[in-house]
């Protein structure tokens, strides 16, 4: 159960990749910075999940991979929960929902965006940098490979567990911590492998005529529809809300 692109036709799918990307990134910033309070944040998360569900996103897979960050969530909750007046459950939950929100937004974004949409978004984002001599296309290549490997690397722990079980290891590793400890010695080989694999993928792309300097065309045509016109309001509003302190000081 990896988080990766699952084709669909729902509302979120049909958005222009630029809008999709803008919403995702402003929402990630919103969730990670914001302090609207537990109730409001939970409500926003719920609305987001509802919209995703209505767009045909299988939330099951995303929830399954929340397991992988449970440990992180618990630690953050504990640290943030302890304030001046002892442990506050509300603070702990608020901290956890922030991380959870970021994770869920990223998960939904990756599920509804195909490879070419992600490339399109990144290339467009880097294009202005290209004007000032930044190697924008090279960077986009790195991004393409990174995106291709995002699910692979997320799934790497699962793959290794599976490869171990496939050779007779017992599944019950004794809880999350124990299994994390058991994986530690494998960090370096896993990294080496990921590098070899990424190298192979780059070679495979080159063998199909991908050259960083070449002019490419695009198969998918991304239109800008009525929905996008409304959807654009979301990142605009989120950003306006986040930048509000600056307006106050300016005014």
């Amino acid at each position: 159960m990896q988080i990766s692109y699952k084709p669909g036709n729902g509302l979120l799918y049909s958005l222009n990749p630029m809008i999709k990307g803008a919403i995702a990134f402003s929402a990630i910033v919103f969730f990670s910075l914001n302090t609207l309070g537990l109730v409001a944040m939970t409500a926003i998360t719920a609305v987001m999940l509802l919209v995703s569900r209505l767009s045909g996103v299988e939330l099951g897979d995303i929830f399954m991979s929340v397991r992988r960050i449970l440990l992180l969530l618990a630690i953050v909750g504990l640290i943030q929960g302890f304030g001046a007046e002892g442990f506050s459950l509300v603070d702990a939950c608020a901290a956890m929902i922030r991380i959870l929100g970021v994770f869920l937004v990223a998960g939904v974004y990756v599920t509804v965006s195909s490879q070419s949409e992600l490339t399109f978004f990144w290339e467009a984002c880097f294009r202005p940098l290209g004007l000032i001599g930044f190697p924008a296309r090279e960077f986009a290549l790195v991004m393409v490979i990174a995106v291709r490997f995002f699910p692979v690397i997320l799934g790497e722990i699962d793959r290794i567990r599976m490869a171990q079980v496939a050779r007779g290891a017992k599944l019950d590793g004794g809880g999350l911590l124990a299994s994390a400890a058991a994986l530690m010695p494998l960090m370096i080989p896993t990294l080496t492998q990921a590098i070899i694999r990424a190298g192979e993928l780059a070679i495979a792309m080159e063998a199909r005529g991908y050259r960083v300097s070449a002019q490419r065309t695009r198969y998918q045509r991304f239109r800008f529809g009525i929905v996008d016109l409304f959807a654009i309001l979301i990142p605009v509003m989120l950003l306006a809300y986040l930048l509000r302190p600056f307006f106050y000081t300016a005014g």
Binding site: Q115, R208, Y210, Q220
Partner: protein, 252 residues
Amino acid sequence: MIVFDQVSFWYKDLTETSFRLKEVSFSLAKGCINGIIGGNGSGKSTVARLMTGLMPVNSGTVTVFGKDPYHQLLHSGFLAGIIFQNPENQIVGATVEEDLAFGLENLGLSHAEMHCRIIETAARFGLGSLLREPVANLSGGQKQLLCIASVMVMEPAWVIFDEPTSHLDPWSRIDFWKIIDEFVHHHDLGVVIVSQLAEDLARYERILGFSSGSLLFQGSREEFKQAGAEIHEHFNYPEEWKYEQLLAAEHA
């Protein structure tokens, strides 16, 4: 024409026991099915990668259409397409359609042209109903078909197939060979096919046989049949030919 002239090659550091391609010379032409055979680790995939210019040779020269494929690949695109041995590490797109489109986008084709070629190729390889399928959901054989289709859709002048049939089911193998036959003999496609399957060997028209980095045999199918047991023992000699020999011996 693909020409190898006194080509030597080794990976990273050369030691007593490590693999070395030993001064290999041959030339392959379009118009017939060129096959490469040899045991595991004999250097077939290495030769395939050198043909497409993915690695520079250590000595000697490789030319495709008179040009050096390694320099060509760096500067202006490839001379020969390649389908790698492992279907898993060469799929670039997230869906079947995206992967088919990837090479075409690199060629800079128009949307209409791409669409046309994708539909046609997908139908030819029986992937028509899977176009929107995420590649992670494909079976081993479906992945291998996709890899083949994704290179063929680019219509290169030469295609190097590294064990293209190893994960195909027997039904698809028959279809694969029909397609190859048609492209080689009617569409001027140059092919080099690496395979371990005896039934594939029986279809080659020209054969290069490798053993531990040396070219042990080169010649036509008939020459290979006549080559004698000391050559045959290195390769997967087809049962079909053995049966023919038994029948021929009876008539003699």
